[in-house]
Amino acid sequence: MAALTEEQNMLKDQASAWASEQAPVLKFREMRDSGVETAYVDTTWASIVEMGWTGILIPEAYGGSDLGYLTFGVVLEELGRQLTASPLFASAYVGATALLLGGNESQQQALLPGVVDGSQILTLALEEGPRHAPENTALAASSADGGYVLNGSKTFVLEGMAATTLIVVARTSGSAGESSGLTLFVVPADAAGVKRERLSMVDSRGYANVSFADVTVGADQVLGKVDAGSELLDAVLDRARAGICADMMGTGAQAFDMTLEYLKTREQFGRVIGSFQALGHRAADLFSAMELARSCHEAALQAIDRGADDVALMSSLAKCRVGEFLHTMSNQLIQIHGGIGMTDEFDAGFYLKRARAVEAIFGNRAYHRDRYARLLGF
């Protein structure tokens, strides 16, 4: 696999400086305490748009910079370090990917420039239950008057309260449990019959339940092919999984850095606790797990950029291994910090809470371990 390019390393430094100056964890704390419904700070989002990061995947014709997935991952990782909350991932990464892979020219023209300038916030409305299971989609899209009528509900929709446009996974044929018969639709969030309700989750980010009651959509709102949406959906999800791994990697790397710093400064029994071999070895284990996980997520993003044929395998590898590292790291962050790690005043808890939330998004470790085995034929 390749190393980051010079441009990617420069962007990493830029994103790192921006996040630690403009959107440090303290901002996240203020946002959480304010209880703002969209779960992000407007000025932070405006600044992200201004930095041009909303256009990283989008072609220049639509105002973007078309720099690819690994480059986007570099930014997501740095924001993940500071737990910077914004619709960047849901809209400019996942939403934009769905339009780039499945949208026709007029759909792309209608939405992508708005994604770049921040006036459009896209999100994928997929899950219908507490566990990731795309084939269980039951939300019905019935044909009517040359278009469709949507009935059903979605849950855990990322940035669901802030979104202006929903990419809805619906069933046009077959029944729940079948991967065929799915179709994706582009639906304005303010369409008649769409209702949203905020979900208050442990990581204080933006999630919503979205219900659809006789929502009428036109045939021109179909994204990709009717009844054959699962192929498009899988491609979007694999890109989304590799992308969220970058966010997770940043969160885990920051947790590691905080822990290492504490091991070097906290004294007990008259010496710094990092001089105890039990803790030195634990730090070595965490560092090794971090390096191995990093290779997986970077390889997955590179596989996407390269158009490789093993994107599905690499995404499952990454989601599983990065999830494993973050899970262990977030627990050790609390354990090694001891009592102070348990207090809300200290930031460790934010990282633990965020860790579990992102571990679940687009499939947890068990889901991807099973999928990895299936892809390898056992």
Binding site: A3, F276, L279, A284, F287, S288, L292, Y372, A373
Partner: protein, 401 residues
């Protein structure tokens, strides 16, 4: 890239012209085949590789190498492999190519380089290493083999253990105590001495997996020339640290530096022994989970080895990162052996006899001999000390001598 392509074409043509076809597919290693009928051809192939400098392709030409860069050497290695050929010089020189040579190149005098390197590069001189002692394993610096100053020579007395290939080596690189009063890491020197002398005797060691390449080596007034002191007097600890980094590097390369190095076929072997359910899943769901975890570990290891090389801009750096890779390679290799033996059931535990296939017998031996991987070259725990101290900057966790 065009230079590399030209080299690739040249290497392919040369191998095709020079590799004796009778040697196709020959296996090497301690329990590899030995076929008297092929020995003459093997010797011809060794001489041709040596003339080309491809036994140690990255070493300078004046010392028997070919003066190639790492990427160039990789291309040559790939072409040799593609043709079904092999470079057996690293194997027949013991520790010569992988460890002694690179360390002599770094620490040796011009005279030492000229006297020792060409014999290694040509595959004529096999080297062993006298490092560990019965009472100096992980705590290597507590070694007690003594070297006394005797004018132009050192006189050496003591016992070494785990000297791989000592009974068939011509030379030995040994760590000896040259100052008994200094702190333990500060009174050690690295000397090179010929094995064929009255003061040296060896005794092979039988291991849990059966016969092994390891020996005990006894020095009773053995003699080393002063001109064969490598590095400065009493600075042997620096020399050996470097030597062991080269060892770790060679171990990580040998056991998984090839891209997505997932263990080939383990899932197929599992399906054959354990069976599948109606959906094609492995019938033992617990084994299936652990097998998937292992294959992911192997792939993550391969990707990390490749990433470290890429980040070093193609130069394979001997660095502390090797400690991460050594432990991760160890984990992958030992888990693979455990899974293999487990999925074969009792059939995977046969010791000898025709009731067992050769694969079954090989896997039980490999499982047993593989327990050494986490012990030699700095144990699993020593590698973690190195990571916590040298990479993470945590304080020393063990008693310093």
């Amino acid at each position: 890239m065009s230079d590399l392509d030209a080299l690739r074409a040249e290497a392919a043509a040369w191998v095709s012209d020079n590799f004796p076809p009778s040697l196709q597919g020959m296996k090497f290693g301690f329990e590899g085949e030995s076929d008297p009928a092929k020995e003459a051809d093997l010797e011809v192939w060794r001489q041709r590789l040596a003339e080309k400098g491809w036994g140690a392709p990255t070493w300078p030409k004046e010392y028997g190498g070919a003066g190639l860069s790492d990427p160039e050497a990789k291309v040559v290695g790939q072409e040799i492999g593609k043709a079904g050929a092999f470079n057996h010089i690293p194997m027949i020189t013991g520790m010569g190519i992988t460890m002694v040579g690179p360390t002599v190149l770094e620490y040796g005098t011009d005279d030492q380089k000229a006297r020792h390197l060409p014999g290694i590069a040509s595959g004529e001189i096999r080297w062993c290493l006298g490092l560990s002692e019965p009472n100096a394993g992980s705590d290597l610096a507590s070694l007690s083999t003594k070297a006394e100053d005797n004018g132009d020579t050192f006189v050496i007395n003591g016992q070494k253990i785990w000297t791989s290939g000592a009974d068939i080596s011509q030379w030995c690189g040994a760590l000896v105590r040259t100052d008994g009063n200094a702190a333990k890491r500060d009174g050690i020197s690295f000397v090179m001495l010929p094995m064929d002398q009255d003061g040296v005797s060896t005794k092979p060691i039988q291991l849990i997996a059966g016969a092994s390449p390891f020996c005990e080596t006894f020095f009773d007034d053995a003699v080393a020339e002063k001109s064969d002191l490598l590095g400065d007097l009493n600075d042997g600890w620096s020399v050996v640290k470097r030597l062991l980094q080269h060892e770790r590097q060679s171990q990580t390369q040998a056991r998984g530096s090839s891209g997505g190095a997932k263990a080939p076929g383990l899932e197929d072997i599992a399906k054959a022994y354990v069976g599948t359910d109606d959906d094609g899943r492995l019938a033992d769901p617990d084994l299936r989970v652990r097998l998937a975890n292992h294959l992911m570990d192997a792939q993550a290891h391969g990707l990390t080895a490749a990433r470290i090389v890429a980040e070093a801009k193609g130069q394979v750096k001997v660095s502390a990162a090797a400690s991460i890779l050594k432990n991760s390679a160890t984990n992958v290799a030992q888990t693979k052996s455990e899974l293999l033996v487990e999925l074969m059931g009792s059939q995977g535990l046969g010791w000898e006899g025709d009731q067992f296939t050769s694969e079954e017998l090989a896997s039980v031996r490999e499982w047993l001999s593989g327990k050494a991987i986490s012990i030699y070259g700095g144990s699993f725990e020593i590698q973690k000390n190195i990571i916590s101290k040298n990479i993470l900057g945590l304080p020393e966790t063990t008693q310093k001598g």
